[in-house]
Amino acid sequence: MVAISSEGGMSIRDVGMVYRRGEQVTTALVGCNLEIPAGNWASLIGASGCGKSTLLRILADIVKPTSGTALIGGVSPAEARAARTYALVSQQSTMLPWRKILANVELGLEVAGVDKADRRRRAEEAIELVGLKGFEQAFPSELSGGMRQRAAIARALTLKPRFLLMDEPFGALDEITREKLNFELLRILKETSATLLLVTHSISEAIILSDTVAVMSPRPGRISHRVEIGFGHDRTADMRDDPQFAAYEAELRHALHGPAPTARPAVHTASTYATA
């Protein structure tokens, strides 16, 4: 193998994903390559079903690619998971309904075997950071969807992860709440030094929260464009009024909807002609 250059970052190298069900072969991902240097913020953007979540789930060691390599901090996703170097925030809040917010935020530390006093302190810090102070003793059902996602982010932060994997974290929220939380997350990211991979289907969310936006095309899922967002990490909410923001938006919109990609069949049925 070629020497690994991005020791501290995340890399996806020639990753492919093929599902077989009997005779039917579905190609979900082909030849995906993405290097995210340490400390960088990256987004995967694309339409539903383009495989962006699958790529993230490969890095989170939830699914294994059928070809290629994924590395997170220079090691395999399975090793990274065992070492607890990354944290995942998914679209649906995974707050256990029978635990209060504090106990839910403490969960990662509890599983990692951190002692009670220490995990209480760290959970309270994280809850304050995401702006949920005062809701420690509430049950998840007593909070709005946006507040539950804040709590999910707090849980991810308690583990002080080097890598944050976020799978459409605000995808189930309305536009107004979502934009508010985008800037909240931006503030939080500036306080950590985590490397971020965000999966989203919102162009503005991708620009606000990324240094690099990778655009994915469906059938079969692949990375078709890369757009570098040159705002640096000192960005503020004012960036939305920057003409450059609109320019990035247009560029990404064209990359997503532009000239239709040449149709490549996603489903090959070996017996199509034989049985006709």
Partner: protein, 276 residues
């Protein structure tokens, strides 16, 4: 009807706490059944006094009431016997069911082997095994407790197998990314998720426990309410027979009420089942 609540819409960022339901029972809910019962007893007393209901089938309410006062010590003695059998069987059967369901949730092979048997066992009348159990265990407490244990075992076992597998896959993915052990997943996710299923079974087996004990006593014991029913029937002591039936019904209701009360006390700390 104002069926839309802002807090649950998942859209608003700031939300009020939803109100927890109280334990108050409105008078309007208690009064109708109480009045109906009183009316029923009055009609019964009138029909009995007029000689329309034969005394060898149903004695007057007064005769049964007098039986309670006169034979208080006899009824208590037999009731205590039945209570100890039913409760011992209830505890033994349910504990065994929960432990076995947990063991089986670890081992797919064991579960696959035993589960069909457990399903079929619903069709087997456990009571029919009482004579066999008497041969093996002798007359008295042991065969009756065995019948009760077996009859409460299967509902709890089947429901716990379902309940322990009921937690959402998202929770398991979250626990997986946190590198949780199998034991941690059981304790933190599967066990709380299974509790509503357990209580559904306990509510069924609360009545099954007393029915099992009483019927088993007909065959396998010379003490207990079941024995009292048989003996007083044979000697046409109808007030005693009816008093025994009323005591048995009352005991069943008390056990059911205890189960419901415990469930309500715990409901915040467990999943809420919507399909039970």
């Amino acid at each position: 009807m104002s069926s839309i609540t802002v807090a649950d819409a998942g859209s608003a960022e700031d939300t009020g706490r939803s109100e927890t339901p109280g334990f108050r029972l409105p008078l309007g809910l208690i009064l109708p059944p109480v009045l109906f019962t009183v009316a029923l007893i009055a009609i019964w007393a009138a029909l009995s006094a007029a000689g329309i209901i034969p005394r060898y089938i149903l004695p007057s309410p007064e005769a049964i009431f007098n039986e309670f006062i006169k034979n208080y010590s006899v009824l208590t003695k037999h009731a205590l016997y039945t209570i100890s059998e039913a409760l011992a069987g209830f505890v033994i059967g349910n504990c065994a069911a929960v432990l076995m369901a947990i063991v089986f949730s670890y081992s797919g092979l064991l579960k696959d082997a035993f589960y069909p048997f457990a399903l079929i066992s619903r069709a087997i009348p456990i009571i029919a095994f009482t004579p066999l159990l008497v041969i093996v265990l002798g007359r008295g407490l042991p065969p009756v407790i065995a019948v009760v244990s077996i009859s409460v075992y299967f509902p709890a076992f089947l429901n716990m197998i379902r309940g322990l597998a009921s937690a959402d896959v998202d929770y398991h993915e979250m626990m997986h990314t946190l590198s949780a052990s199998r034991w941690q997943r059981l304790r933190i996710v599967d066990w709380p998720a299974s509790i509503p299923y357990l209580f559904a079974a306990l509510k069924v087996s609360a009545s099954a426990a007393f029915i099992g004990a009483i019927v088993a006593e007909w065959i396998g014991a010379n003490k207990g309410l079941g024995y009292l029913v048989v003996i007083s029937g044979q000697y046409f002591k109808l007030p005693t027979l009816w008093a025994a039936i009323i005591v048995a019904a009352g005991l069943t209701l008390i056990l059911l009420a205890i189960v419901v009360l415990v469930e309500r006390m715990l409901h915040r700390w467990t999943a809420t089942a919507t399909d039970l």
